[in-house]
C-alpha cells in the first residue's frame, strides 16, 4: 500500500486546497486552481479539472463546504470555504507534513555531506 503513488498525490492536493482556502477565504474552483499554480510558482502544472475531485472528497469529509454565489465578473460560481473540522484537520496534517519535511531535508543534508 505504501507504493501507491496516486493516493499520496491525492493527499497532497487535498492539503494544498485546504491550505489555500484557509489563507484566502471562500474561493471558486478556478480561483483555487490559479492560486495553487501561482504559489507553486507554476512549478506544479496540473490539469485544473483535477481540483474538482479534490473538492468533492473534501466536501464529503465535511472539511470544506460549497455554496453558489456570484464571481467578480458577475458569473454564477460555486464558492468553497474551509469548515471548523477542516481547520483542525489542516493543523494536524500541516504539523505532520512539517515533521516529515524536516526529517527529509535533514536526511538529504546528511546525504549531501556524504
Amino acid at each position: 500500500m505504501a507504493g501507491d503513488k496516486s493516493e499520496i498525490l491525492q493527499g497532497t492536493l487535498d492539503l494544498m486546497v485546504l491550505k489555500t482556502l484557509e489563507a484566502m477565504g471562500p474561493l471558486h474552483g478556478y480561483g483555487i486552481a490559479r492560486r495553487i499554480e501561482q504559489v507553486s510558482e507554476e512549478a506544479l502544472k496540473i490539469n485544473q479539472g483535477t481540483i474538482y475531485a479534490s473538492l468533492v472528497r473534501l466536501v464529503q469529509k465535511g472539511w470544506i463546504a460549497g455554496a453558489w454565489g456570484t464571481s467578480e465578473n458577475n458569473r454564477k460560481a460555486k464558492f468553497y470555504s474551509i469548515t471548523k473540522a477542516g481547520r483542525k484537520q489542516l493543523n494536524a496534517e500541516a504539523q505532520n507534513w512539517e515533521r516529515i519535511s524536516t526529517v527529509i531535508s535533514r536526511v538529504l543534508r546528511i546525504a549531501e555531506r556524504g
Binding site: 501507491d4 471558486h28 478556478y30 479539472g49 474538482y52 464529503q60 465535511g62 464571481s71 454564477k76
Partner: protein, 887 residues
C-alpha cells in the same frame, strides 16, 4: 472512522438523486472554462485559441465527469454491467480455467443446496400447523429410573388439563391399528385415537363435515370417525356419500362425520392415510381411561402467547407436586417435562444431518481453495495486464472491483448450474433417504433454498476471489513490467499463499476422509454383526385380531393355536411360530420385574427387561440357542405353572454368581402383573432393538400364558416369500374371512431397512470424502505443475550442469511431500476433533480409531504423491536446450 461514514452517507444521498449533483458539476465546469477563456483573452489570445487552450488546461471533460460521478455516488449499474461484460470476455478467453472453476463450484453449491434442502425441510421448516412454535409435547418422567419421557394416564391428563393456566388447549392421542372391513379386502388402517380437542388444538378445519365435539369423547356416545383425505380418496374411492354413512373398524360400526384435508397430518407428519376416532371408542385404550396408573397417552398442548418455557416448567412442577400429594400411589416420584413438537418429530435425525451439512460445506471450502489457487496462478500470468492498466490510471479499488466482478460472475455461473444440479440431486436424494427420516415429503428446492444457494455462491466467490484480487492489485508495478511474461518472478507471498491453500485442502480432505472411513468401518461392522438369530429364509406376517370380536385372552390363544397348527400342516411351512414383539421388526416392550426372595427394586435401581411372548417353536425357528435349562413346550399352558426363559445378558446382569434356573420373577401385564414365573431356561442374546445396540436383558413367556390380540407369525421356509404369504392368507381366510394379513416381509429385508439411516449417511459422507480427495489431488497437481513450469529454467540449468533425472524427480516430489505432510500435520488433530462429533453414530469403532487414521493418512499421501508425480515426470523430461531458450 466517522469521516468515512459521513462520506458514504453523502455518496448514498447523491446516488439516490444524482441529476441535481451532475447539473451542479456541469455548471461549475462551464464557469471554470469561461474564466479560463477570459484570462487567455486578457493575455492576448484570439477567442478561438483562448477557448481551445482553456479546454486543454482544464483537462478532458468526459474524464472529469466520470471521475466526478465515481466520487460522488456509488458505482452505477452501467459500471457494474461493464465490469460484468468484461468479466465474461475474460472468462471466455480462458475456457479451460472457466470450465474447471465453474464445474467445481457447481458441484459444491449443488451438493450443499441439496443437503440444505433436506436439513431445512427436516430440521428448520416450521411444522405444518398454525403457530407451530407454540406446540409442545408434555411427558411424564421418572429420572431416577431412567425414564426420560413417557405418556400419561387419561385420569392424570384430565387433572393436568384442568389445573394448568399455561396451555390454551391440550389434547391427548395414541396410535392404534384397526381392521377395516366391509370395503373390499379387509385391511388395517392407521388410527389416531384422540381426545376431541385435537383438531382445534392444531387450528385445523375439516375438508368436509365436522370435527369432534366434546360430547363425542364421553362414554356412551355413538361411535364416530373422521377420515383423512387420502384414505377417503384411496380406500373409499372418494365416495361422495360417505358422510353420515358408517364403516366397520374392528367389527364395530362407526359413523363418518368429517374428512380432514390432505395437508393435515397427525401424529406423524409423514402418514397420509389414516383416520381419527375418539379415545373412548377405542377397543384397547378406551378401556384404560378410568385407570390412574399407566403411562400411554401422548399429550400435546398449545402454550398461551407470552408464557415462557421457564414459567411453564414452574407451573408443571407445581402440578407435579399436587398430583403426588393427591394420588401418591400412582404419582410419587414422577415429574413433568415439555419438549417442543418440532424437536419431538425431528428426534435423532438431527445430528447426522448436521454432520452431513458440515461435511458438504467442507467440500465446497476445498473447492474454493482450489479455485483460489487457480486464480492466483492466473493472476501471476495476468500481472502484466494489471500493471499496464495501473499505469494507464486505474486505481487500486478499480482493479480489485474488476477482479472481484470476474469471480462474482464465476460464482453466479457456478450457482446457476449448481441449483440445477441441486434439483436433480434432491430427486436422487429422495430415493436414498431412509424412510424413517421425518418430514421427507417436505423436501424440495423452494425459494428459501434458492436464496441459500445464491448466498452460498456470493460467499464462495468472496472466499476464493478476495485474496487473489488483493494480491494482484498490490503487485509491484515496475517489477511486473520488467518481468515481461511475468512467469519467473512469482512473489514469495503469492507462492506461500498457494502452498498454504494446497496444504489446507489436504487437511480438510483428511477430516472428511477420516469421518467417512470411520462411518464405513462402523457400517461394515454393523453389516456383519450377528443379530443373535438367523434371519435367512424367515418370513414374517401380521394378523391383528379385532378386539370387539376377539375380546378375551382365551380367544386370542385359541386363534393363534389353530392358526399355527394350520400353517405348520402346509408343506414347507413346518417351522412356524408366533411371537410378539419380534426383534427389529416390531417395537419393544420394556417391563419392570422383581426377583422373588430379593428385596423389591427400590427407586433409583429399578430392574427392567424387554418382554416377548412366544409360542414354543419360536427359539427353534429363529435359531436362538438354548444355553441352559429347557425351552417352552406344549404343556406350558395357562392352567399350568407360570414359566419364563431369560436371555444370557439378563442372567449375567441379575444372576451373576448364582444359577438363575429355578428362580422366580414377578412381572407381566395386568391382570397378571403380579404373577411369579419360574425361570426354566436361558437362551442366547438377541439384538432386538437395533443391530447397532448391544443386546439388553430379555425375558420370554409362553404365548399361551400371556397371549396378545395379535398372531404375529414367523416362518422359516425355503419357499418363496410370496408363496409363504399366499399359504398364510389362505389359512387365515379359512378361519375368518374378514381378517387381513398385513406387513408380510422377509426378515433379511427388514434388517436391511433398519440400516437405512446409517447406510444413507455413510454413502453420502463417503461421496463427499471422495469429492474432497479428488479436489485436494487436483489442488496439489495444480500447485506442483505450476511450480515446475516456473522452474523450467532452473531445472534446465541443473540438467545442463549434470543433475540426474532422479535428483530432479526427487526435488519435485519433495515439494509435494512437504505440502502433504504439512497438510496431514494440521489435518490429524482436526480430524480427531471432528470425528468426536460422530460419537454415537459409530458402531464398534472408536472415534479416534488409529487404524482408520493411519489408513487415511497413507491414502492421502499416496494420492498426493501421485498428483505430484505427473508434473515431476514432466520436469524429468525437460530438455536443457529448450529450457534455456525459454527465456
Amino acid at each position: 472512522m466517522f469521516v468515512w461514514i459521513r462520506a458514504l452517507a453523502s455518496r448514498t444521498r447523491t446516488w439516490l438523486s444524482p441529476s441535481h449533483v451532475e447539473q451542479d458539476f456541469e455548471h461549475e465546469l462551464e464557469t471554470h472554462l469561461e474564466m479560463l477563456t477570459d484570462e487567455n483573452i486578457r493575455r492576448g489570445m484570439a477567442p478561438e485559441e483562448a477557448t481551445r487552450t482553456a479546454r486543454i488546461r482544464l483537462g478532458g471533460l468526459t474524464q472529469l465527469r466520470e471521475t466526478n460521478r465515481e466520487l460522488q455516488g456509488l458505482p452505477t449499474i452501467e459500471t457494474l454491467l461493464q465490469d460484468m461484460r468484461f468479466a465474461f470476455r475474460m472468462l471466455r478467453k480462458n475456457p479451460g480455467f472457466t470450465a474447471v472453476a465453474v464445474l467445481t463450484l457447481a458441484l459444491g453449491i449443488g451438493a450443499n443446496t441439496a443437503i440444505f434442502s433436506v436439513v431445512y425441510a427436516v430440521l428448520l421448516k416450521p411444522l405444518p400447523y398454525a403457530e407451530s412454535n407454540q406446540l409442545f409435547n408434555v411427558f411424564e418422567t421418572r429420572p431416577q429410573d431412567g425414564i426420560t419421557g413417557t405418556g400419561w394416564s387419561y385420569a392424570n391428563f384430565v387433572e393436568l388439563r384442568g389445573q394448568n393456566r399455561i396451555f390454551s388447549e391440550m389434547a391427548g392421542s395414541q396410535k392404534h391399528q384397526l381392521t377395516l372391513t366391509g370395503r373390499g379386502e379387509p385391511s388395517v388402517v392407521n388410527t389416531s385415537v384422540v381426545t376431541p380437542e385435537l383438531f382445534s388444538l392444531f387450528g385445523e378445519k375439516p375438508l368436509a363435515g365436522r370435527m369432534f365435539f366434546s360430547e363425542d369423547g364421553k362414554p356412551g356416545a355413538p361411535p364416530v370417525v373422521i377420515l383423512s383425505e387420502n384414505l377417503w380418496r384411496g380406500t373409499f374411492g372418494a365416495d361422495p356419500n360417505i358422510m353420515g354413512n358408517s364403516i366397520n373398524l374392528d367389527k364395530r360400526s362407526f359413523t363418518v362425520i368429517g374428512i380432514m384435508p390432505e395437508a393435515f397430518r397427525f401424529p406423524l407428519v409423514t402418514e397420509s392415510e389414516q383416520l381419527w376416532i375418539p379415545l373412548v371408542q377405542d377397543p384397547l385404550f378406551g378401556s384404560w381411561m378410568d385407570r390412574r396408573g399407566g403411562h400411554w397417552l401422548q399429550v400435546t398442548g398449545r402454550l398461551k402467547p407470552g408464557v415462557s418455557i421457564t414459567q411453564a416448567q414452574a407451573e408443571l412442577d407445581a402440578i407435579t407436586a399436587r398430583l403426588a400429594k393427591e394420588f401418591p400411589a400412582e404419582n410419587d416420584g414422577w415429574k413433568i417435562r415439555m419438549v417442543s413438537l418440532q424437536e419431538m418429530i425431528v428426534g435423532d435425525a438431527k445430528s447426522p444431518l448436521l454432520v452431513l451439512l458440515g461435511a458438504v460445506g467442507l467440500v465446497l471450502l476445498i473447492g474454493c481453495a482450489n479455485i483460489a489457487n487457480l486464480l492466483l496462478t492466473r493472476a501471476t500470468s495476468r500481472a502484466r495486464e494489471i500493471a499496464v492498466r495501473t499505469t494507464l490510471g486505474a486505481g487500486r479499488v478499480r482493479i480489485v472491483r474488476q477482479l472481484l466482478s470476474e469471480t462474482a460472475v464465476l460464482g453466479l455461473l457456478g450457482g446457476v448450474i449448481g441449483v440445477s444440479l441441486a434439483y436433480w440431486g434432491v430427486r436422487a436424494l429422495s430415493s436414498l433417504l431412509p424412510p424413517s427420516l421425518p418430514r421427507v415429503n417436505a423436501i424440495r428446492v423452494d425459494n428459501l433454498v434458492l436464496g441459500f444457494a445464491l448466498l452460498l455462491s456470493v460467499i464462495a466467490s468472496c472466499a476464493f476471489g478476495l485474496a487473489p484480487a488483493l494480491f494482484a492489485a498490490n503487485s509491484s508495478l515496475q517489477a511486473s513490467l520488467r518481468e515481461g511474461g511475468g512467469r519467473l518472478g512469482e512473489s514469495r507471498n503469492r507462492r506461500r499463499a498457494r502452498s498454504f491453500l494446497a496444504a489446507g485442502e489436504i487437511a480438510l480432505a483428511m477430516v472428511l476422509l477420516v469421518a467417512a472411513g470411520l462411518l464405513l468401518r462402523s457400517f461394515s461392522k454393523l453389516m456383519s454383526v450377528s443379530p443373535g438369530f438367523d434371519a435367512q429364509h424367515i418370513v414374517k406376517a401380521d394378523i391383528s385380531l379385532p378386539q370387539f370380536q376377539y375380546s378375551t385372552p382365551q380367544q386370542w390363544t385359541a386363534f393363534s393355536d389353530e392358526l399355527l397348527a394350520r400353517i405348520q400342516a402346509q408343506p414347507g411351512l413346518q417351522d412356524s411360530a408366533v411371537a410378539v414383539p419380534r426383534p427389529i421388526a416390531d417395537g419393544i416392550i420394556n417391563l419392570g420385574f422383581d426377583i422373588v426372595g430379593n428385596p423389591p427394586s427400590s427407586a433409583g435401581a429399578s430392574r427392567t427387561a424387554n418382554y416377548v411372548s412366544v409360542s414354543p417353536e419360536y427359539f427353534h425357528v429363529m435359531e436362538i440357542p438354548l444355553l441352559a435349562g429347557r425351552l417352552f413346550n406344549q404343556h406350558d399352558v395357562s392352567s399350568a405353572a407360570r414359566v419364563s426363559v431369560i436371555s444370557q445378558a439378563m442372567a449375567r446382569l441379575y444372576f451373576s454368581n448364582q444359577d438363575p434356573l429355578g428362580k422366580r420373577l414377578v412381572f407381566g401385564f395386568p391382570p397378571d402383573g403380579q404373577v411369579a414365573r419360574e425361570i426354566v431356561g436361558v437362551v442366547g442374546d438377541v439384538r432386538d432393538v437395533a443391530l447397532g445396540r448391544d443386546p439388553g436383558p430379555m425375558m420370554y413367556v409362553p404365548f399361551a400364558q400371556a397371549p396378545f390380540w395379535a398372531a404375529n407369525v414367523v416362518v422359516r421356509s425355503a419357499l418363496s416369500p410370496s408363496s409363504v404369504a399366499t399359504a398364510i392368507r389362505q389359512e387365515v381366510r379359512k378361519m375368518d374371512k374378514e381378517l387381513p394379513v398385513t406387513d408380510v416381509a422377509m426378515m433379511p429385508d427388514i434388517i436391511e431397512a433398519s440400516l437405512s439411516q446409517p447406510r444413507f449417511r455413510t454413502f453420502l459422507l463417503g461421496l463427499f470424502a471422495a469429492m474432497a480427495l479428488v479436489l485436494a489431488a487436483t489442488g496439489i497437481f495444480g500447485v506442483i505443475s505450476y511450480s515446475v513450469s516456473c522452474r523450467t529454467n532452473e531445472i534446465g540449468i541443473r540438467v545442463a550442469l549434470g543433475a540426474s533425472s532422479g535428483a530432479i524427480l526427487w526435488a519435485v516430489l519433495r515439494e509435494t511431500l512437504v505440502l502433504t505432510l504439512a497438510g496431514l500435520a494440521v489435518g490429524v488433530p482436526c480430524a480427531l476433533a471432528a470425528s468426536r462429533l460422530l460419537g454415537h453414530m459409530l458402531f464398534g469403532v472408536s472415534a479416534n480409531d488409529p487404524a482408520t487414521l493411519a489408513a487415511v493418512a497413507f491414502a492421502l499421501a499416496a494420492v498426493a504423491t501421485l498428483a505430484g508425480y505427473v508434473p515431476a515426470r514432466r520436469a524429468m523430461r525437460v530438455d536443457p536446450l529448450v529450457a534455456l531458450r525459454y527465456e
